[in-house]
Amino acid sequence: MMDDLSLLGFGPDGWAPLLLKGCMLTLAVSATSMAIGTVLGVLLAWARLKGPRWLRRTALVYGVVLRGVPELLVILLLYFGLPSLILSLAETFGWDAPGLPPPFLIGSLSVGLVSAAYQAEIFRGGVGAIAKGQFEAARAMGFSDLQCFHRIVLPQVARIVLPALGNVWQFNLKDSALIAVTGLSELMRTSLVAAGSTRHPFLFFGVAMALYLVLTTLSSTAFHYGGRYSNRWDRG
């Protein structure tokens, strides 16, 4: 038992610093992929709602494919496929071969691409929840599309979609564990390495579970208060 404690401590053979670093990396990857997902998700939602027909179709197919294919497969495809794609692109254009993209970028990009497909649906639903008359009113007042987005859509949609985005964030956090297969030493990978090298898998996977529970609980609390704050004018 003392053995176990020293394994989890900050001492010379303790894994605590690495596990905490893993937590930070997990948060960083999840946040990056969430950001990628939001930017791409907004673009996709715009394409579905306002784009020309070919773009609407493309966005639709993107959503169907990325929501129907396992996340693990997307990560593996990007991890193994992207370097060779970059190389062959560089060859065709006669550039110097660039270095391999870092695992952090590949990991957050692949989780972000999946996240975008889900977020696009959420944003689309959010815009759909705004009363049609408001758009007509905005046009009648001579708002440009950008003004309409900034003044009418954004303030309301942000509030409507926040709980759903919280859900996506939780999924992102848990999907980020899959990036462990690329060798990025986030929380899952660190616990795997620790379990392998100390031969205490039960202990380290248990600790990793506890740390994930802390992360998910803290972030769901944050989203709860964020939701309360954004609805502060709503409760009469």
Partner: protein
């Protein structure tokens, strides 16, 4: 180009042979998770606090941690527990397919139970009161009034969860199961042709998911009483009163 196509064809043939493994994991864990979720839902509305606490803890534990970690915990972690390692349970726990099914049953039952719980809360109160007023109690009320409404309300979210489960089966490949993803990785290790193999695997998953959602959508349509074609033909117009 021709060589390219033959490669894709041969890879697809290999991957198709792995489809039963994926479907087996999905079917076993789907059935078990749904059964367990029904139990958890019943616990969530129990009168005594203990079952409710168990249901809450279960949901918290399995929804708050990644499924891949749960799979590793069961496959690698439990193997180090003496009474599992040296007991009768070891025959089950050393099988990666069993471990995947167990992890997915636990994890997905937590999600499905939340869906059922939400649907149960959405069953109109009046229907239950009406049932009670007709003298129904206990099981009959559940079977005739609550369950039919609950199933209809829960079905769309439940279908989503089944699609999620199909995608989750790919995690079995991380603990040496040769499902679609596992075989795909094996082929890539031999051939180094990533893009074609993964695209073929992705197409298979899409096909499975399309089939499942078509099936569940058909079920949804069938259960939809408002849109169902009436079995007794209604006369189109009433005879005018003279």
């Amino acid at each position: 180009m021709g060589e390219h196509l033959t490669f894709i064809a041969s890879v697809t043939a290999l991957l198709v042979r792995a489809v039963p493994v994926t479907l087996l994991i999905l079917a076993v864990s789907g059935v078990c998770a749904t059964a367990l979720a029904t139990g958890l839902t019943a616990m969530s509305v129990a009168r005594s606090p203990l079952p409710r606490l168990i249901q809450r803890t279960w949901t918290f534990l399995f929804r708050g941690t990644p499924l891949i970690l749960q799979i590793f915990m069961i496959y690698y972690g439990f193997a180090m527990v003496p009474w599992i390692r040296h007991g009768i349970l070891w025959t089950a726990f050393r099988d990666p397919v069993f471990c995947t099914c167990l992890a997915m049953t636990c994890c997905c039952s937590a999600y499905i139970a939340e869906i059922f719980r939400g649907a149960l809360a959405a069953v109109p109160r009046g229907e239950i009161e009406a049932g009670r007023a007709c003298g129904m109690t206990g099981f009959m009320l559940l079977r005739r009034v609550i369950a039919p409404s609950l199933v209809r309300i829960a079905l769309p979210s439940y279908s989503n969860e089944i699609i999620m489960m199909t995608k989750s089966t790919s995690l079995a490949s991380t603990i040496t199961v040769l499902d679609i993803t596992g075989v795909a990785q094996q082929v890539i290790a031999h051939s180094y042709r990533t893009l074609e193999v993964f695209c073929a695997a992705a197409a298979l998953y899409l096909l499975i998911n399309a089939g499942l959602s078509a099936l569940l959508a058909a079920l949804e349509r069938r259960l939809d009483v408002d849109r169902a074609v009436p079995s007794i033909s209604v006369p189109p117009t009433l005879e005018p009163l003279s």
